[in-house]
């Protein structure tokens, strides 16, 4: 399938490596998100695809043809940035239509077709009523959508969107996200979407790449990224509250393999032993590992209900209309538990916690867990 492909792409600025050995494929019709913290190298990837930056090594392919030596204007790429860069003297209509006014575009497009295209995209993004205004009359959120419309108005090989809705308030974010999703479905072109917000990435995309310090931690569908994070970094970066992470020891107890943390022993299910093996590390004669578990994969009860349950006092408790959040202190770090419905507990109550064993995740220790 045609699309954009990165093969062993590395970009270094002097000694500083911005991104390292990237291998990614963006398929036609796919909305692909790259998510990571500030400085992870997300924008560098977009700039290399656009041709604004040259890879230090590796190859970028468009439709299986190397574009490394093609200048930006010959790559047929459309971009939208977090900053709007609108022409202040032009109306919203003319700003959006601008990419259609090159001589080449003009030759293929009648005025009427141009108007239809602009109006369609403006309608999609909910800015049709603004077409006659000047940028100075717009709010930040409106400008950002105009900028997005201008990027999307032209037919391109690939659309590169760099935090295109960062300045919208929560409500507009949701609706613009929906418009983008519908547009992507309709256009059938590759869209590469860069964001620091994992929610946007999960909600929008067909596939997601999680980037950390210039390296890809995982590529997968939103569900794969959330349910089976490949590394402790991904587990902690994705989700609110993030996956609970705790370090512990692997040991045998009465023939049963257990995970021990803070003097609590939790049995490990038979089918998890094999994946566990690949991440266990030897430290001072002990087998250690990092365990992750999502806040909603922990049960809480007033009495002991299984032999793996362990007792802790409640550090803090929150009740929301939709459920209850409990926080516990465990080994200098916080353990977050979310329950459905209203739990009948109070602060400092001692309760029994029980991990859903099939949802225990095991990782190598690649990141530092900050203490509370």
């Amino acid at each position: 399938m045609a699309g954009v492909r990165l093969e062993h792409v590395t970009k270094a600025y002097g000694k500083k490596i911005a991104v390292e050995d990237l291998n990614m494929e963006f398929k036609e019709g796919e909305l692909f998100s790259i998510v990571g913290a500030a400085g992870a190298g997300k924008s560098t990837i977009l700039k290399m695809i656009a041709g604004i930056e040259k890879p230090t090594s590796g190859t970028i392919y468009f439709n299986e043809r190397s574009v490394n030596d093609l200048p930006p204007q010959r790559r047929n790429v459309a971009m939208a940035f977090e900053t709007y860069n609108l022409y202040p003297h032009l109306t919203v209509y003319k700003n959006i239509a601008f990419p259609l006014t090159t001589p080449k575009a003009r030759a293929n497009l009648t005025r009427r077709q141009e108007r239809e295209r602009v109006e369609e995209i403006a309608e999609f993004l909910g800015i049709k009523r603004l077409l006659d205004r000047k940028p100075v009359q717009l709010s930040g959120g409106e400008k950002q959508r105009v900028s997005l419309a201008r990027a999307m108005v032209r037919k391109a090989q690939v659309y590169l969107l760099d935090e295109p809705i960062a300045h919208l308030d929560a409500r507009l974010k949701f609706s613009t996200q929906k418009s983008l999703k519908r547009m992507s479905r309709k256009m059938g072109t590759a869209i590469i979407y860069v964001t620091h917000d994992y929610r946007e990435a999960l909600g929008l995309s067909n596939r997601v790449a999680v980037l950390n310090r210039g390296r890809v931690e995982q590529v997968g569908t939103p569900k794969e990224i959330f349910d089976t994070p490949a590394t402790d970094f991904v587990a902690r970066f994705i989700g609110d509250p993030p996956t609970n992470l705790m370090d512990g020891e692997i040991l045998k107890k009465d023939g049963q393999t257990c995970f021990r943390t803070a003097n609590f022993d939790i049995e490990i299910q038979e089918d998890l032993l094999e994946p566990l093996e690949s991440v266990v590390e030897k430290e001072g004669g002990k087998s250690t590992v990092r365990m992750g578990i999502r806040s909603f994969h922990i049960r809480v009860a007033g009495e002991k209900k299984s032999r793996n349950a362990f007792q802790l006092p409640i550090y803090a408790i929150f009740r929301t209309p939709e459920g209850t959040m409990l926080t516990f202190e465990l080994e200098n770090s916080f353990l977050q538990v979310s329950l459905e419905g209203q739990a009948d507990f109070g602060m400092s109550d001692k309760v029994w916690l029980d991990f859903d064993q099939e949802h225990m995740l095991f990782f190598k220790k690649t990141i530092k867990i900050a203490k509370m």
Binding site: R171, F226, R236, F296, Y315, A316, I317, P321, A370
Partner: protein, 372 residues
Amino acid sequence: MSKLEIKGVGKVYGGKVVAVRDVNFTCEDGEFLAILGPSGSGKSTTLRMIAGLEDITEGEILFDGVRVNELSPSERNIALAFESYALYPHMTVFDNIAYPLRAQGVEKSEVRRRVMAIAKELRVDDVLQKRPNSLSGGGQQRVSLSRALIREPNVTLLDEPISHMDQRLRAVMRAQVRRIHNELKLTTIYVTHDQAEAVTLCDRLVVMNHAALQQVGTVDEIWNRPANKFVATFVGEPQMNFIAATLEDRSHVSIATGRGKVVFPFKGEAPEKYVGGPITLGVRPQEIDLAMVMEEGRPSIAGSVDLVEFQGENAILTLKLEDRNQTEISVAVLGHKLGDVGERASLCFRDDKIHLFDGETPILYGETFSSS
């Protein structure tokens, strides 16, 4: 540690610009109250008037029944914590916490005693000789709070202290703030634009918009009996759905479809005068039961899935309802029960989760505005 009363408080800048208009609410001794509203709603101005950083144009503010309008910020004895920790980097943690007491000329052994006591409470007693920058974000926040609380303030004011942190730190901070509030029996007012934060953290909410109070109530009251359409849409994510409907009688509402109508019963009694007329039915995305097969005996309306936004634990489905207007509806479902685009489903509304509005005004639960 004080009861706080806000009576008819208003703020006018330059005799013209009304920033806050006739605000009334009470914060009981030991209560955790949120002032919630979008930017420009007047919430921060209200907070600044309580702190004494802003003159009060009209009305009065009372601490334990005593008018404080004319008192300076320090005379009001308030702890203020903002988003940034504003710790002195060249001082040790001990000296940072001791600073307000030394400034008051408190005797040396008394300073030591009180610093040790608060540091123990906030779990920074083992880092007293360190510099703030060597601590984690959570540690710095606890030092900052220790410094704010050491004067044993009447009221603790928090202005968006955690809204811009990453999700991991936010979960930690939230738990800490709530724990400290309970442990030290503080009276806390928390200003935020983030409805999820307010709903999670606080006992009661003061909702503001356009310089005016919209509703004061517990989280449950605001969730289940919003005072107007603004509150109904501002609290809850994704926002409440609205569907054009007809009031059949005082306990039934109908939605017109291509083939007739679907009648839904609801709890409560609508006023007689609306019977037979058009009405807006409101229902929260979290409170819709979605079935891929029709349930016998329960009224339901069909819709087709247009978008699926995966969010991790949950997914948000956008459906086109098969009513006359093809209304767009959001439904929150568990993440592992994803629907497919194009799939048809039937939507049931729980009889106690139906809201009815005449324009902006809810008609089912009457006067819910309370300023107690």
